[in-house]
């Protein structure tokens, strides 16, 4: 263990504080803005000294916003709930479809397997609008337009390739000998998959699911094109505070704070899996 002088420790601590402040500052500033009125935010020069107000949060939660022109209704909490439904639903479906598929691609080499895997990956490269406009027509014909189910299906363009390709790497890292040993003991293939492969790839699956959730949460264009206003996620809903009569900076800040909370909570909860999972997948033996 190397010895550090008090001065070194002080400098190191100071450097760490500076680095943390640098990265945290934008978020801290947004949090501070969320407790200010528009007038306070726009004063020149800006100041961190202000009388805090929760009116921005109250407006968002109550759905009633008093702008400089008139009162208007906002649906941000519904947008937030839509984001939760769409992101959680699409990740859940991707896990159900993608994890067994990833296992198959990792363990079983069959004719066309790589082609199929790359085809699925290519969904990530497709310009969204190129896909969405024809899809709008089909969705209207088959009754999926403006439904959560239809949107969750389209969100598979984001989540499924991500989960499939990340989880495939984890399955490939697990030695097949462990599975063989379990099967020699008389267990079925499905039992081996559930009791051996899945638990061993657990951190990787959690990491992939979390990443897919974040990508789905941040998506903007899918719901915008395919759904009505009542099914829009927070990414679209947050723009409601930018109106012809002015930008409601305080409400935008409060909306940002509220919209990052679910992802932040999930990330903190899954942090251990995330670091473990990502590092496991990154280093191949």
């Amino acid at each position: 263990m190397t010895h550090q002088s008090p001065l070194e420790r002080l400098l190191r601590g100071l450097a760490l504080v500076l680095v943390v402040c640098f990265f945290i500052f934008p978020i801290l500033w947004i949090v501070l803005m969320s407790f200010q009125t528009n007038e306070t935010i726009l004063r020149s020069p800006p100041s961190v000294v202000f009388r805090p107000t929760v009116s921005n949060y109250a407006a968002i939660i109550s759905g009633h916003l008093d702008s400089n022109v008139a009162s208007m209704g906002i649906e941000f909490m519904r947008n937030l709930m839509n984001s939760v439904i769409l992101s959680a639903g699409s990740v859940a479906l991707s896990l159900v479809l993608g994890v067994p598929a990833a296992y198959a691609f990792a363990r079983h080499k069959f004719r066309g397997s790589e082609d199929i895997a790359f085809t699925l990956l290519s969904f990530r490269f497709a310009p969204p609008l190129l896909v969405l406009l024809p899809l709008t027509l089909y969705f209207q014909q088959i009754g999926l337009a403006d439904t959560y189910l239809g949107l969750i299906w389209v969100y598979q363009l984001i989540c499924l390739p991500l989960i499939l390709w990340i989880v495939r790497g984890y399955f490939e890292d697990i030695s097949p000998d462990i599975e063989h040993a379990y099967r020699i003991a008389g267990h079925s293939w499905f039992s081996t998959f559930c009791r051996i492969s899945l638990p061993l790839a657990g951190p990787g699956i959690a990491a992939a699911a979390l990443l897919a959730f974040i990508f789905a949460w941040n998506n903007f264009v899918f719901a915008l094109v395919l759904a009505s206003a009542d099914k829009q996620p927070v990414t679209v809903g947050a723009l409601a505070f930018v109106t012809a009569s002015g930008i409601q900076y305080g409400q935008i800040a409060a909306a940002v704070v509220l919209s990052i909370l679910p992802v932040l909570a999930l990330a903190l909860y899954a942090q251990r899996y995330l670091v473990e999972g990502l590092s496991l997948g990154a280093v191949k033996g």
Binding site: S44, M72, P134, Q140, Q232, V236, G246
Partner: protein
């Protein structure tokens, strides 16, 4: 309603008394102005029903695609009257303005029948109309069986009405005889001056009346007010930088964006001597007295800075100045308005933005949708929106003639009514309609940015811009 109140409202509806007298009479009976106006509006709705079969589409439901805007709020506040009048239901989707036109374009280009009608800007119909995405509304306007006798199409301000009609020929005059009415004007914005009277007074300058005066006033206001820049104009790399004050002044000096040759071909008109002179002054004004981050300024930054007291005046949409004079702004109640003619002849010719309503070509019930459109753009709703909500600027002459509306505006927005009265005769779209509108105007804005940043001299920049535009017009078969 009590008999006395009913008699007063009925007398008003028969034209036997003015709106102001009616409100005064109802006030004497103990009724607030708000309640009185609701009563009048309800009576107007009943009167509408007398001469026209408003129930022809009773039971049907139309769906609208709307932008989040005070005009929309005003319509929703009055929607129950429409439902009562027609027996129809109205559903609507409201999207924020930042993504609104993406949603419209996606819905129309995919030929979706979900929305029967939608809000649009007149410029957008230069794309939607020729593409066959919107109907020619003339068919409905001119059909006496489908349009109520009180609709009074001619009550629409002429420049605004004509600006929403185009024959689809690149360079074709707006509102020509063979033009198709691609949209119905709903509310509009003129580009004029909104100024901070105290800041100009502190600088010892009056309200500018020509371009040189504008440059001097902006510089003086900036010098006299610490931390304040002289004039707010848009500067982002977008077509929207060109259309407000910039094009209004440019057109007032007799300049145009494109030449329309005898053979119908188009060519760039930005590199004439007059245009170069104007550009040089405009660029210098921004360099000397504009925002330091001018190249990022859109509608929002221009308005926000004026409302926060960071700029002395703006040359932009009048309703932007209207909004910034409202509650919640540091400069609430301190702004004033003036018409502006860059040439100094006192005859402003503002370019305008028109929020309009249009029916989708893919609607399965256009006749029912038209019932909504004629009500929403009709004189009764226009008056309700203007007097009870923030529906400024109305597009109907009758609303601008209403004493109650004028008094209300003049009370809180000094100079606004006069500004409108002086500017309205010359207010129209000054662009040449053509299918490359958004691309070419965005390039113009990019070119302006280079000139302000001194990356290219004004003369050279405009020659380069004109050459590039001519090339694109030729490539598209337009030049």
């Amino acid at each position: 309603m009590h008999e006395k109140e009913k008699d007063l409202v009925d007398a008003y509806m028969r034209g036997q008394m003015s709106r102001r007298s009616l409100l005064r009479g109802l006030a004497a009976l103990g009724m607030t102005a708000g309640t009185a106006s609701v009563l009048v509006n309800a009576a107007a709705t009943r009167a509408l029903a007398a001469d026209f079969d408003w129930k022809a589409h009773s039971g049907k439901s139309v769906k609208l695609l709307l932008n989040k805007h005070p005009y929309t709020d005003a319509m929703i506040a009055n929607l129950e009257n429409f439902k009562a009048l027609t027996g129809m239901n109205v559903e609507y989707d409201i999207f924020p303005e930042d993504v609104y036109f993406d949603k419209v374009t996606a819905a129309l280009s995919s030929r979706s029948s979900e929305y029967d009608a939608f809000m649009t800007g007149a410029y957008m119909t230069w794309t939607y109309g020729p593409a066959g995405w919107v109907v020619d509304h003339s068919e409905w306007i001119q059909d006496a069986a489908k349009t109520n006798p009180h609709y009074n199409w001619d009550d629409m301000l002429e420049g605004v009405r004509k600006s929403c009609a185009w024959n689809g020929q690149p360079g074709g005059a707006l509102g020509s005889e063979d033009a198709k009415q691609w949209c119905i004007p709903w509310g509009y914005e003129q580009n004029n001056l909104t100024y901070n009277a105290a800041m100009l007074e502190k600088a010892g300058v009056g309200v500018p009346t020509d371009l040189d005066g504008l440059m001097e006033a902006a510089a003086a206001a900036q010098a006299a007010n610490e931390g304040v820049y002289g004039i707010g104009v848009r500067g982002s790399r977008s077509w929207a930088t060109i259309h407000p004050g910039f094009l209004s002044a440019y057109a007032n000096l007799g300049q145009s964006d494109l030449n329309v040759n005898d053979d119908g071909k188009l060519s760039a008109a930005m590199n004439t001597a007059g245009s170069k002179d104007f550009h040089a002054k405009w660029v210098k004004m921004i360099q000397d007295s504009g925002a330091r981050d001018w190249s990022t300024h859109t509608w929002y930054q221009v308005g926000t800075d004026l409302g926060a007291g960071k700029s002395a005046m703006i040359y932009d949409a009048d309703i932007l100045g209207y909004f910034m004079n409202g509650a919640g702004n540091a400069m609430e109640g301190q702004l004033a308005y003036a018409p502006f003619a860059a040439s100094g002849d006192g005859k402003p010719t503002p370019n305008i933005w028109i929020w309009s309503l249009a029916m989708s070509k893919f609607s399965k019930q256009p006749d029912a949708a038209w019932y909504f459109l004629q009500w929403a753009s009709g004189p009764e709703h226009a008056l309700f929106g203007a007097t009870q909500m923030d529906f400024v600027n109305p597009v109907r002459k009758s609303v601008w003639a209403d004493a109650g509306f004028r008094d209300r505006l003049s009370g809180s927005y000094p100079g606004y009514v006069d500004m409108h009265d002086v500017s309205a005769p010359g207010a129209s779209i000054k662009f040449t309609p053509q299918p490359l509108f958004f691309d070419l105007m965005t390039e113009w804005a990019a070119s302006l940015q280079k000139m302000v940043a001194k990356e290219v001299p004004v003369d050279e920049g405009l020659d380069q811009l004109a050459a590039s535009i001519d090339r694109q017009l030729k490539d598209a078969g337009l030049g």
